[in-house]
C-alpha cells in the first residue's frame, strides 16, 4: 500500500568515464583479507564486451557475496534464519575493480556457500555483480553462478531465465587452473549477458 509521504528514489545517472581516482582503492579486488578468510580461494576473471564486440575499459565492477558458509555479513541475515551458517570476521563479501585497457577484470575471493532464498528454497552459490560505466545510464545487475553445481538446477533466479540464456550466467572453468572461474560480460548483442531488474 502506498502512503502519501512516499517519494520515488533519486534518479541514477551514468558514472561517466573519469571516476577511478574517487572510487577505487588498492586491493579492493581481493576479498580474502590476505588469505585469512575461511574457505576455498577462487579467482573470478573475465572481459567486458560492448555491442560492437570490442573490449570495454574503465568499467566499474562491484561484487557482493556470502561467505564460504553461505552467510552474508549484514544484520538482515540474522541468526534466526542463519541455520548453521556462521559469520567469518575475515570476510566482508564486497569487492570492487575496474576493467583494464583490454576490458579485463579479476577478483580474488572465496567460493560462496549456498544461501537461503524465499520461503524454504535455497539458492545455489552465486555472486551478485553491479556494473557501472560511461554509456550505461545507470547500474546493470547480473549474477555469476558456478559450473558443475547441482543446486543450479533448482535455483529460483536461474529458473526465471530461459534455458538458452541460463548458461550465460554460469562461469566457465578456466583452462589450466582448478580455481579460476571465467565470466565474460557482454553488454549487448550476440551472447548478451542476461541482466536482472535493478
Amino acid at each position: 500500500m502506498m502512503t502519501d509521504s512516499k517519494t520515488t528514489p533519486s534518479a541514477g545517472q551514468t558514472v561517466g568515464p573519469f571516476f577511478n581516482y574517487a572510487l577505487l582503492r588498492d586491493g579492493e579486488n581481493d576479498l580474502t583479507a590476505d588469505g585469512k578468510a575461511a574457505g576455498d580461494v577462487i579467482i573470478v576473471e573475465g572481459q567486458v564486451i560492448d555491442g560492437a564486440g570490442g573490449p570495454l575499459r574503465d568499467v566499474l565492477l562491484e561484487i557482493w557475496q556470502a561467505n564460504a558458509q553461505g552467510r552474508y555479513n549484514h544484520p538482515a541475515d540474522a541468526p534466526a534464519n542463519s541455520g548453521d551458517r556462521e559469520l567469518d570476521e575475515n570476510f566482508r563479501g564486497f569487492g570492487r575493480t575496474l576493467t583494464d585497457g583490454d576490458g579485463c577484470y579479476r577478483f580474488v575471493t572465496i567460493k560462496p556457500g549456498a544461501v537461503p532464498g524465499e520461503g524454504n528454497q535455497w539458492q545455489a552459490p552465486h555472486i551478485a555483480i553491479s556494473i557501472f560505466a560511461a554509456g550505461l545510464t545507470r547500474r546493470l545487475v547480473t549474477r555469476l553462478y558456478f559450473p558443475g553445481e547441482d543446486a543450479n538446477d533448482a535455483d529460483p533466479a536461474l529458473s526465471g531465465v530461459p534455458e538458452e540464456d541460463r548458461m550465460r550466467l554460469v562461469g566457465d572453468v578456466a583452462e589450466g587452473s582448478d580455481n579460476t572461474v571465467r565470466f565474460n560480460i557482454v553488454l549487448q548483442g550476440d551472447g548478451e549477458t542476461p541482466f536482472f531488474e535493478d
Partner: protein, 241 residues
C-alpha cells in the same frame, strides 16, 4: 538500533518507478547505443542477496575527507568555494544513517584529475576532486568543495556538460546502491544536457538539481547548496499477503 531488527530488514522493497530512472538506451547520449542491452531484464526474486549489502560507518573515513577544497598539505584549490549539504532518506522519508557517499567532480576549469581527460584546460595541483562522507543518524551529510566548471564533450558538435558533481551511495543493501549526478540551479546548460534529460519524469529530473541555500553556506566564505537524496527503501509497513 531498531532498524537492524530482522523484521525491519526483511520488509519488502519498493520497485523503481520506471519513469523516474533513465532508460539504458538514450540515443542523444551516444555511447549508450552500443552499451545498452537489447534484451529485457529478467525478474529477480528479492532474496538475502539483494536485501543485504556492504555497510559503512564514520570509522571507515579518514579525517577531513569531506573537504575537497584543500589538498593534503592544506593548500587551497582554485575556484568558488561551496558547501554541499543535505539529507539522505529512504522512500518513506526515514533517515538513511551510515550511508557512504563518494563525491567526485571536475576542477573549476572543467577538467578531471584523470590521465584520459586530455582536454586543453588547466589542471589544479591543489585539487584532486574526490571526497567521502558517511551520513549521521539523521541521514545528514556535508561536503566542502569548489564549484566545478562546464566542459565540452569531444566530437559532439560543441555539446557542453553543465557543471555537475558525481555521487555514489550505498545505503543498507545491494538494492539501494546507486550512482548519480547533481546539477546547479539556473545554469543554461542544464536544459541542453543529454544525461540529465535522459530521466523521463520532470519531477525526478528537477530533483537532480541542487537548491541554492545560503543557510548551509559559510558566512563570507562559501556558497551553500542543498541536495537531498532518496534511496530505494522498504515499505513503511510490512506487506501482508
Amino acid at each position: 538500533m531498531t532498524d537492524d531488527t530482522e523484521a525491519q530488514e526483511n520488509r519488502e522493497y519498493w520497485e523503481y518507478e520506471p519513469s523516474s530512472q533513465p532508460p539504458y538506451l538514450t540515443p542523444n547520449y551516444k555511447s549508450t547505443v552500443i552499451r545498452s542491452p537489447n534484451k529485457p531484464q529478467y525478474k529477480l526474486p528479492r532474496t538475502l542477496t539483494e536485501t543485504t549489502g556492504p555497510l559503512f560507518t564514520q570509522d571507515d573515513l579518514v579525517a577531513d575527507e569531506y573537504d575537497l577544497s584543500v589538498n593534503a598539505k592544506g593548500d587551497a584549490a582554485i575556484g568558488s568555494l561551496m558547501v554541499m549539504d543535505g539529507f539522505v532518506t529512504d522512500e518513506d522519508g526515514r533517515p538513511a544513517a551510515n550511508t557512504l557517499i563518494e563525491l567526485w567532480q571536475a576542477n573549476s576549469a572543467g577538467k578531471y584529475h584523470h590521465l584520459m581527460d586530455t582536454r586543453d584546460a588547466p589542471g589544479d595541483p591543489n585539487f584532486i576532486g574526490a571526497g567521502r562522507a558517511v551520513t549521521d543518524s539523521e541521514g545528514h551529510y556535508r561536503f566542502m568543495t569548489i564549484k566545478p566548471g562546464a566542459y565540452p564533450v569531444p566530437n559532439s558538435g560543441n555539446y557542453w556538460r553543465p557543471p555537475h558533481l558525481h555521487l555514489s551511495l550505498f545505503g543498507r543493501s545491494f538494492m539501494s546502491r546507486m550512482i548519480t549526478q547533481c546539477y546547479f540551479p539556473g545554469d543554461p546548460l542544464n536544459e541542453l544536457d543529454h544525461i540529465l534529460h535522459g530521466v523521463p519524469d520532470a519531477d525526478a529530473k528537477e530533483r537532480l538539481i541542487m537548491t541554492f541555500d545560503p543557510v548551509v553556506g559559510v558566512h563570507e566564505h562559501a556558497l551553500g547548496y542543498r541536495f537531498d537524496i532518496v534511496l530505494r527503501g522498504r515499505h513503511a509497513t510490512p506487506m501482508v499477503g
